[in-house]
């Protein structure tokens, strides 16, 4: 649990909070950035959070070997209405861990990623999971990138909040092989994820707790500096630049923000200290750090800092050795990636891992409990309007593979919780597969974007997210037609 060695003289707290400096404060409500397009959201605080687990889930992997398919241990055992009692009774299934929130659950089965990977199944899945876009021809393999914008970026651009950048969080130490995979500003423009919850939190609440006089002085001082920097950026942008350089400098220009009045949005002091003290890179802290990220997400949503967030749990091919109470005698499991391969190897040769399917299921259950931790926080916290977060937004637990052994892109899990202001038909398990055909998952994104209030330029529902070759429209099975977004 010990932190990494720090540079002499500069503790984290000193740097971030004690040097008379400020970072972007939480917004004064009236000063929200207003997006230019029409909105139909019932709440100014609608949001979507995307939590991603790696390596597929322990479900029937028909792509691997249908004759020896492992039993499904993930989904509810039947489609239709979910209640706390009915879901709890499905105790063999990972989703039973979410029984307390059955009334707001919407697990969606039957979806697939529409495009093949390009030499690396994990990377190709990560490229598509939130984009429904093609995988790059170049680069390829584990370096492949998405050729489109991710849904979290679209939401952050479209929904009013204090920042146009979505929260992009990551649990664990990034491997050099396949680190963050989720969030894209656009084609081949991958956003780095942050793996230290304390740094993210500190950036959000930097001026919180200071007197009005201190905040005003900092605001005036920073405004003087910002004006000068903006002038310089404007001059640079007036130059004859390539498109790529212009986009890069535009991003910088738009990042310069004047300090806004802060609100009292802090975690309890004890929790702040825990965030400050944790080693976010320690493998043993996987669950603790994930919960801390979730606390940061919840406070960011409740204070209007952001309305769009991703939480990537583990590397692209997460090899964490999880420790799960009651499993494997409490000892560390084999590496998760190897469990998903069912052998002691990250490749194709290795000794079998005894009971690997069951271990994979236990890792799924652990992630289900982490997702429940998020839902608990969203149920506790409210928006500034006093609405329960879990009612105005939605959270999704997903994966960048359907199952581990075959690395299939079929039946990738998308488990939603939260109705987005009454616009999603929660409290039920749906399977949208049509016969033997899995549906490309872009229409799910259209549904979420539209339910959150995002509209196309002509004011109509979003029906074209993802690659332009994909069929348009929404997923009717997810829609609650009585919701205000559809009227």
């Amino acid at each position: 649990m010990a932190k990494q060695a720090k540079k002499p003289g500069f503790g984290r707290r000193l740097f971030l909070r004690g040097a008379g400096t400020a970072v972007l404060g939480l917004p004064f409500l009236e000063s929200f950035v207003r997006a230019p397009r029409a909105k139909a959201a019932p709440s100014d605080y609608s949001f979507a959070v995307w939590c991603r687990q790696a390596n597929g889930v322990a479900q029937a992997d028909l792509q691997w070997d249908e004759a020896r398919a492992e039993p499904d241990l993930f989904w509810p055992t039947a489609t239709g209405r979910l209640t706390r009692e009915s879901l709890a009774a499905m105790s063999t299934q990972a989703l039973s861990e979410l029984a307390d929130h059955a009334d707001v659950l919407l697990p969606v089965a039957g979806l697939r990623f529409p495009f093949p990977g390009n030499g690396c199944g994990h990377s190709g899945g990560g490229n598509q999971v939130l984009t429904a876009a093609r995988v790059s021809d170049t680069p390829s393999g584990n370096e492949s990138l998405s050729m489109g914008e991710s849904v979290d970026n679209r939401l952050a651009r479209e929904l009013a909040s204090s920042t146009t950048e979505p929260l992009t969080l990551f649990t664990g130490r990034k491997s050099g092989y396949l680190p963050e995979v989720l969030s894209y500003r656009g084609p081949r423009d991958l956003r780095a994820a942050e793996n230290d919850p304390f740094l993210v939190y500190s950036r959000m609440v930097g001026m919180s707790g200071r007197s009005d006089e201190e905040v005003n002085a900092a605001r005036l001082r920073q405004a003087s500096v910002n004006d000068l920097v903006r002038e310089q950026m404007t001059w640079l942008l007036s130059r004859d630049l390539s498109g790529a350089d212009r986009r890069r400098l535009d991003l910088h220009f738009s990042a310069i923000r004047d300090l806004e009045v802060t609100m009292g949005c802090n975690l309890p002091a004890m929790r702040e200290m825990e965030l400050d003290g944790v080693d976010p890179l320690s493998e043993g802290n996987y669950q603790v750090v994930t919960q801390m990220h979730i606390d940061v997400i919840a406070i960011a949503l409740s204070c209007g800092y952001t309305r769009s967030a991703t939480l990537q749990m583990g590397n692209g091919n997460d090899g964490t050795q999880h420790v799960i109470p009651g499993v494997n005698g409490g000892a560390a499991l084999p590496r998760y990636h190897q469990i998903s391969h069912r052998i002691f190897s990250d490749g194709s040769e290795g000794d079998p891992i005894a009971g690997a399917h069951g271990l994979h299921h236990q890792v799924d259950r652990m992630h289900a409990r982490l997702f429940k931790y998020l839902l608990d926080r969203l149920a506790e916290r409210t928006t500034p309007d006093g609405d329960r977060l879990l009612d105005v937004g939605t959270a999704c637990w997903t994966n960048d593979l359907g199952a581990g052994v075959s690395h299939t892109y079929n039946n990738v899990p998308f488990v939603f919780a939260g109705s987005l202001g009454g616009n999603l038909a929660v409290g039920q398990y749906v399977n949208v597969r049509e016969g033997n055909t899995y549906l490309p998952h872009n229409r799910m994104f259209n549904t979420i974007l539209s339910a959150a209030g995002v509209r196309k330029g002509d004011g109509s529902l979003v029906d074209d997210f993802g690659d332009e070759s994909l069929p348009r429209g929404l997923l009717d099975a997810m829609v609650d037609p009585s919701g205000p977004a559809w009227s």
Partner: protein, 540 residues
């Protein structure tokens, strides 16, 4: 995973088209070229950004040197992370941007640094140059901070901001208040955070001016801003001649900042930090770190102290050991924890890949495979597809080589890449156990470390690690790979087809004329790829 831009080998073709690599070959496509090794050299200067952002280590080093501090500020550890690029290194400028999180971090750091400078008389003097006259002060300081002479109006702007200082910092003396406010702005300026390589485009080419060249040179060799001598050379136009540029290059390579850069290059390229986790029963907990230090010390010593070549790096039969490492080498008479230079048995050891760190890094039956993959990718820049996933076969055999062969050798599903490309290299190291000690037998059977490997269109047979390393050191592939990696690290960007001619030329000098690594670096910065650039292409 790295791929070679330059290989034209039967080796690359051996894996091409096999499982996991379905993309067809397209000679005009740079990535296809990198993957397959078949490239069309393209003329013209490389297409690069006009404003590459400083990497976080470069930001640290630059702030340190701007104020003459001995230690790094240590603030970038809390900066927002950058995405991974496509090189083996952490400084791929093509993915470095200023996001809202970066901006907030730069803002906080600028305010911390400004406060620190005001409280540090030596740093303040370094900023002011002893002047109390704001105009002169900022004219000189902006030259260093922006790494070019101040442009018209810039000094006026900062003087005006300086005069606002007392309003914002009323508790400070007026002069200090002005310095602090202006410094906050300077450290947030795009001209500080980016390297300015903008310029007039003539016939698709931007010719870098003296100050842009000086900045490129100092970040290429030192990862930091120019020193006063280099600034003076730029002011005098000395860098515009090949002789002037080379003179500065060799001067800078004698500086400790070059030592740090050379060490960092090999640490990242060869993943030396992974050595830190190595433990062996009966040895201290420092053993892994000592193994890394051994290889880092060896590399910098060969290159900077002995003016050595890539051939020396790969084959030199000496190293730096302490008592614990000496035990692994089977040496006597070395005591204590300090590393010292020793000669090694030249029939057993040759260069940095016969160091215990490399040999103990991967253990067990997969070690030959992982060693083979590592050297293929990191030393030869060979292309290997992603491993396929299928039901594992049963291993058979007495020795490790037999067991590996039984599941990946000829006649198995893995023969395409393993039997022809990966295993031949890994098997040469079977003369070492998993702790890096020499061994003659494996499980009671004499070790078989013979094999052969296709270097380009030539198959070379060898017996054991010394002969293998000699073969690698004599191969065109290794010299191209090393030159390519140095270009990517020094220039902070991936190689392009427009760089192929430069790398080919340097690899030829390294292989056939035995160029020292210093000479390789001098040739890199004295190349057309260094002196010119072209605007980035429009994306599809």
């Amino acid at each position: 995973m790295r791929r070679s831009l330059l290989l034209t080998t039967a080796l690359a073709l051996a894996c091409e088209g096999s499982i996991g690599d379905p993309t067809p070959y397209d000679p005009s496509d740079p990535e296809s070229c990198r993957r397959t090794g078949r490239c069309e050299s393209v003329s013209g200067p490389p297409q690069t950004s006009a404003y590459p952002r400083l990497s976080h280590p470069q930001w640290e080093n630059t702030v340190r040197d701007l104020f003459g501090w001995d230690e790094l500020p240590g603030l970038s550890a809390t900066f927002a992370a950058d995405p991974s690029g496509t090189t083996n290194f952490d400084n791929d400028g093509t993915v470095l941007q200023v996001t809202s999180n970066h901006w907030a971090d730069y803002q906080s750091a600028a305010e911390v640094i400004a406060a620190r400078v005001i409280d540090d008389p030596a740093a303040k003097a370094r900023m002011t140059g002893g002047s109390s006259e704001p105009r002169a002060l900022y004219e000189a300081f902006l030259h260093r901070a922006f790494r070019r002479p101040a442009r018209a109006g810039e000094v006026d702007t900062y003087v005006a901001l300086h005069e606002q200082g007392p309003t914002h910092y009323p508790a400070l003396p007026a002069f200090d208040a002005g310095l602090r406010l202006a410094l906050e702005a300077i450290l947030q300026s795009p001209f500080f955070l980016y390297r300015d390589e903008d310029g007039e485009v003539r016939d698709g080419v931007v010719q870098l001016d003296s100050h842009q060249l000086a900045s490129r040179l100092s970040y290429a060799l030192w990862d930091t801003m120019p020193d006063d001598t280099l600034f003076a050379a730029a002011d005098d136009g000395d860098l515009e001649s090949s002789d002037g540029l080379r003179a500065q290059t060799f001067r800078m390579l004698d500086d400790d900042r070059a030592r740090a850069k050379v060490e960092d290059f090999h640490r990242q390229l060869f993943e030396l930090e992974t050595y830190d986790a190595i433990t062996i029963d009966g040895f201290s907990n420092d053993l892994g770190r000592t193994m890394r230090l051994e290889t880092e010390r060896f590399a910098t010593s060969v290159i900077l102290d002995d003016d050595g070549s890539l051939q020396d790096l790969l084959t030199a039969p000496y190293s730096y050991v302490n008592e614990e490492l000496a035990e692994l080498y089977g040496l006597e008479g070395v005591t204590g924890t300090e590393l010292r230079r020793v000669d090694l048995d030249p029939t057993q050891r040759a260069g940095l890949f016969t160091h215990p760190g490399f040999l103990a890094r991967k253990r067990g039956d997969t070690a030959p495979i992982l060693r083979g993959v590592y050297l293929n990718m990191r030393v030869l820049c060979a292309s290997l597809p992603t491993p396929p996933v299928f039901e594992p076969p049963v291993q058979r055999g007495t020795t490790r080589r037999e067991r590996v062969d039984s599941v990946t050798g000829l006649g198995t599903c893995g023969e395409t890449c393993h039997a022809g490309v990966i295993n031949p290299i890994g098997f040469a190291f079977e003369t070492f156990d998993d702790e890096g000690r020499w061994r003659d037998t494996d499980n009671g059977v004499s070790v078989d470390a013979t094999s052969s490997y296709w270097f380009g269109d030539e198959e070379v047979a060898y017996d054991g690690p010394v002969e293998l390393m000699g073969a690698i050191a004599s191969s065109d592939m290794a010299h191209r790979c090393y030159a390519q990696n140095w270009m990517e690290f020094a220039f902070g960007r991936p190689l392009q087809t427009r760089d192929v001619a430069t790398v080919e030329s340097i690899a030829k000098g390294s292989l056939t004329e035995g160029w020292s690594v210093k000479e390789i670096l001098a040739a890199l910065v004295d190349s057309p790829s260094f002196r010119t650039r072209a605007p980035l292409p429009e994306e599809e």
